[in-house]
Amino acid sequence: MVYARFLVRRLLQAIPVVFGVTIVVFLLIHLVPGDPARTALGTHATPQAVAQLHHLWGLDKSLPEQYWLFLKRLLGGDLGTSLRFQQPAGHLVLERMPVTLWLLCYATVLTCLIAVPAALLAASRQGALRDRIVRLLSVTALGIPGFWLGLMLIEYIAVETGIFPSSGYGSGFLGHLESLFLPSLTIAAGIVPLVVRSLRAETLKVADADFVTTARAKGLTERRIRLRHVLRNALAPSITVLAVNVSFLVGGTLVIEQVFSLGGVGSLMLQGIDARDFPIVQAVTLILALVVVGVNIFGDLVQALIDPRVEVR
């Protein structure tokens, strides 16, 4: 019950945030010089044809009026019609969503697979060589530009060895798993250091906590203590790190989709910006903002469930 109340409260809090996002995006994209009608018609178009399209698309209306129409449609569940593709923007976004969701989830899984063992290894003996190596590696990894890492993986893994495809989404579960490995790894590389840091620090902190000392006194094996108590308690903040970084992950997909030629939401967004396809840009940012807000709430909830010390307010 307390969780349900918490959920409702967080959802209500999210409404003005999402509303703010739509205003910022709406204003920005309309400030960008460039005309979607010219882009659609090409340089052959006459001024009359351009004006006709403006009228058809409602671009001849004032900005507040356009925003008002956008909101009205939004309440009816309509994200508008893409100017470039002449299809419902919401539909286009949903069509591309699987690729991006796959990337996000895959990158998260890879992050955990790399970060958890690395952090535990580092924390197993504080200050030891392995600790220092893990820490130095993660400091270094923090500064690797994602686009560059992606290029390196494509050239030196995909093309040279042919182990993984250099691009594409693949088909079927295993196909996705194979095709999206390198891009997901690239995205994960940016997050792993953050999770390692947090998890390592928390593990060390928890290892000194009273309940662990008690467990030791009870004669539980060190291994068991680590897995049962330490990891469990250290995970909660790490999950928060991950959840809070979901918008970073989402942003990461934007460039990585470009580098690996993946037709996800990120590339749709860049195409939308390029073509000044206002409804698309709005739809993508809105949906991404919802994902970000949703994952954050989810992260808080999970943390509360795992870690009884976290108060649910």
Binding site: G34, H44, T46, Q86, I154, S166, G168, S261, Q271, D274
Partner: protein, 541 residues
């Protein structure tokens, strides 16, 4: 064999050579074809109608029917409604699904396609088209004269293409296989305009659907039929079972993948994930040609790269400044560094491959000393030699060219900055005249120069706002109604001279279209107008 063998000039001799070359390729896997590069440059001087493509035709015993061809283009079409788009990506897709009445073959020669013949009245104002019999749409319904009349009426009124069909007054179906086209003035070469890939024949009234509905699942007479389109990912075509050319197409399926990043396209081709890629990076061509499993097809030079000078700017109103820019630019350097030797320096703005291309207009050799002198004189006359070059962002080729020009102009005494813009911004900035100088490119969808020549005045001298737009418009009107080919040729020569004289459109280079593919792809044809024709494409073995 249609690719990579480009050095042979077309003609009777070439046919023999082509066969030899095909065998060479089959024998040594194509490695041998990369010798003696720069073929495009040589063939360019061959004048209108010549093509880099070598057609093996029926000589190829090894092509077998079936298979799926995966091709990567640099973007996706804007729409599949042929009457509303003009971009090159849409034209690549439209060409597979739709066909016009006339079509240029790989040599650039026009041949009747969905038309069987066209007869002109003595005054050349009434044209009677006899349609090819037995043509069916991909839904199995036969093509009728009503379909043709509807289609031509639609392109004539299209906001995008109307300007090219201004002469046409009416199109009427007069019999089951005849359509009569009436023009307001004599039309010198209507078939030229009718060969536009966008002048596609579609079912009457879009088969009873709205234009938007039709564009979502188009139906045409081309070798391939629309199957599905995953936006931002791929566009798939199935074989048109009802295709009118017997035995064609060979392929079961064609997938156009959208891969905007040139390096991704290249690496996917090298990794064997793709069969064909559009426009590989110029720097990659030697490496690809050396690769035994890959073929590089360099097709007829069909793109003109140019630097447009905005004549609304006081700086460029000075004749000496324009002349100085013209002389300062190192065109040879551009061809060498940006095109890696593929392509040639550009003279006339109507590129080779177009009819009436004037090869006597030569690109001036770089003369920095003279450019400096001219600029110094202009500065004394009070001009401020500072300019900004607008260019499309994020494209290796364009960025390289811009940097070469910048360095050339700085050497001549200009102060130059670069302004990378995205396409939307570029499309807005140019018509508004809000730029100093801009890098642009020009390509024609037809072999007839009328498309570009009508486009020139309609865009206020390609947005250079030059004073010759009216003159060109007048000459173009005379050319399309010219009583003889000779007079038509003269008018186009005058048009080329007029643009050359003003020097507001600084021509830089002619750039060929390049496609790279796996060695087992055969029959991949690209005409002088950039669109690949996959009707005869197939795989060996």
């Amino acid at each position: 064999m249609k690719m990579g063998l480009g050095r042979f000039r077309f003609g009777a001799v070439a046919a023999v050579l082509a066969l030899v070359a095909a065998i060479v390729v089959a024998g040594c896997g194509g490695g041998g074809t990369s010798s003696g590069g720069g073929g495009a440059t040589g063939a360019g001087a061959n004048g209108a109608g010549s093509s880099e493509t070598v057609s093996g035709g029926e000589g190829e015993a090894q092509a077998k029917p079936g298979g799926t061809l995966t091709l990567a283009d640099f973007d996706e079409p804007i729409s599949l409604n042929p009457f509303m788009v003009a971009d090159i990506l849409s034209s690549h897709a439209v060409t597979q699904m739709f066909e016009p009445l006339f079509k240029a073959d790989v040599e650039g020669k026009l041949e009747p396609w969905l038309a069987e013949s066209m007869k002109a009245s003595p005054d050349r104002k009434t044209f009677t088209v006899t349609l090819r019999k037995g043509v069916k749409f991909s839904n199995g319904k036969p093509m009728t004269s009503a379909d043709v009349a509807f289609s031509l009426e639609t392109i004539r009124k299209s906001p995008v293409w109307g300007i090219m069909f201004e002469l046409v007054e009416s199109v009427k179906a007069t019999g089951p296989d005849t359509v009569v086209i009436k023009t307001s003035k004599p039309a010198a070469k209507l078939e030229g305009q009718l060969s536009l890939p966008f002048a596609a024949i579609v079912p009457k009234n879009f088969g009873g659907e709205s234009e938007e509905e039709f564009a979502a699942h188009p139906i045409g007479t081309g070798p391939f039929a629309y199957a599905s389109w995953k936006r931002g990912e791929s566009l798939t075509f199935d074989k048109n079972k009802y295709y009118w050319k017997p035995g064609l197409p060979l392929l079961e399926k064609v997938v156009f993948e959208m891969v905007p990043d040139v390096n991704s396209r290249d690496s996917q081709l090298r990794a064997g994930e793709l069969d064909v890629v559009a426009s590989p990076d110029w720097s990659q061509l030697p490496a690809m040609e050396a690769e035994p499993n890959l073929h590089v097809g360099i097709y007829k030079a069909s793109i003109l790269d140019s630097l447009g000078l905005n004549m609304k700017e006081p700086l460029f109103q000075n004749d000496k400044v324009r002349e100085a820019i013209n002389l300062a630019i190192d065109r040879e350097g551009i061809v060498k560094a940006a095109l890696f030797g593929h392509g040639e320096t550009a003279g006339s703005w109507l590129m080779p491959g177009l009819e009436f291309h004037d090869e006597t207009i030569k690109a001036p050799a770089q003369d920095v000393a003279k450019a400096k002198k001219l600029l110094a004189e202009a500065v004394k006359e009070g001009v401020e030699p500072t300019l900004q070059i607008s260019l499309l962002k994020g494209q290796t080729f364009t960025t390289t060219v811009a940097q070469i020009i910048q360095s050339n102009l700085v050497e001549a005494g200009f102060s130059v900055s670069l302004r990378p813009l995205d396409e939307s911004a570029m499309n807005s900035v140019l018509p508004a005249g809000k730029y100093d100088a801009a890098l642009g490119l020009l390509a024609s969808n037809i072999v007839d120069p009328s498309e570009l020549a009508s486009f020139y005045p309609a865009t206020e001298a390609l947005y250079t706002f030059g004073s010759n737009a009216t003159k060109v418009a007048k000459l173009e009107a005379e050319a399309v109604s010219a009583p003889s080919e000779k007079i038509r040729g003269q008018r186009y020569a005058e048009i080329q001279e007029a643009v050359e004289e003003e020097k507001a459109l600084v021509t830089l280079d002619y750039r060929p279209f390049v496609w790279a593919m796996q060695g087992n792809v055969t029959g991949f044809q690209v005409g002088v107008t950039s669109d690949p024709w996959l009707g005869e494409t197939g795989f060996t073995e």
